[in-house]
Symmetry: C2
Subunit: 204 residues, 2 copies
């Protein structure tokens, strides 16, 4: 590691490849992405990709790891914050997700589809199990409504929040939304979903 010392991150070859890989893998998925596409997008020689990352698969795993962390990073800290109420947590999860997904609309479909196809070796195995089931969020829900299965409740919040992004191509196909009205709709949902979830919490 002789060179590379004073080279700013943006012009660092390794970083240029990562940036390009994120973009191309996210757009096309693992199988439809050719290493040549990434090289071209990065403006580098194809051999450099293998020089820095060994293989297409290794580079992809790196990107996947990031994207999964991005997706869980929105919800994890909120679930475990003992300082906030259940209502506040709901608001934070909803607006947190919508803000990130308006900027990265393809993120959930990409991750969920690649997971489904098992195109990914889990590198960093986190004990998500306990992290969620022991969370402050679940405890607070139990106090309020011990009869509601936390899985149902979380699925409702995420379904209302994340699903529209997954279903976006279909919503556009049906003419129910266009590129502009979709974002308006999502911003409205930041206020609306917490109201609806509270209605569900009251329902019996």
């Amino acid at each position: 590691m002789a060179a590379k010392k004073n080279i700013p991150v943006e012009t660092n070859t390794e970083e240029k490849i990562k940036v390009a890989a994120r973009k191309v893998f996210m757009r096309n998925g693992f199988s439809a992405t050719r290493t040549r596409d990434i090289a071209e997008e990065a403006g580098i020689n194809l051999a450099l990709l293998n020089y820095y990352f060994r293989s297409k698969k290794k580079l992809f795993d790196l990107v996947m790891q990031e994207k999964i962390q991005k997706l869980f990073g929105i919800i994890a800290p909120v679930l475990n914050d003992t300082a906030t109420t259940l209502e506040t947590k709901i608001e934070l999860i909803v607006s947190g997700y919508i803000d990130v997904l308006v900027e990265n609309p393809d993120l959930p479909t990409f991750v969920l589809n690649e997971l489904r196809k098992k195109n990914f070796e889990i590198i960093q195995k986190i004990p998500l199990d306990k992290l969620i089931t022991q969370s402050s969020f679940i405890q607070q829900l139990r106090e309020k409504r011990a009869d509601i299965n936390p899985a149902h409740f979380l699925v409702n919040i995420l379904g209302m929040t994340v699903f529209p992004f997954v279903a976006k191509p279909m919503l556009m196909m049906t003419g129910m939304v266009n590129e502009k009205s979709f974002n308006t709709l999502m911003n409205e949902r930041k206020q609306l979903i917490p109201v609806w979830i509270k209605a569900i919490l009251k329902a019996k």
Copy 2:
């Protein structure tokens, strides 16, 4: 068309290829599927695939067309039935989707992801726009709650119903569900989602 007359559908080569194509395309998506995989799954010579369907893309478009119709076929007739109440429609959509998706858990992620990647030429262009916006469902919703945007309302129902299937790999990764408890959960949701949606309808 000389032969093929008395040949039962199951042993019909064209049909065998379609059955195999549905299976393999659904599991792997367009790009990760090789025509050789389909031929092997169908137990036929590779050349027959091109003989009957001209190309991988044409065969894929056929499968996509079917899958999209399957996905919309659940909801379309319910939305437009003037004989049922809004409450009944909600119940029918929810249980209709859950029943089909328990048997075809990969259907939504497959379709939504391939649509996202635009791996598909829409052959049969249906005026889904009017079909939905002019539907009995939307009219009934307007009568009950003119202030609720129908898009929000439909997204809520579909989000709560369809999203769990899309998120299944992630729910399993977090240890929140396993293969067995997932189906139990989905069956519970057939009863629960209509209750929750009614709570949303009452909320202000």
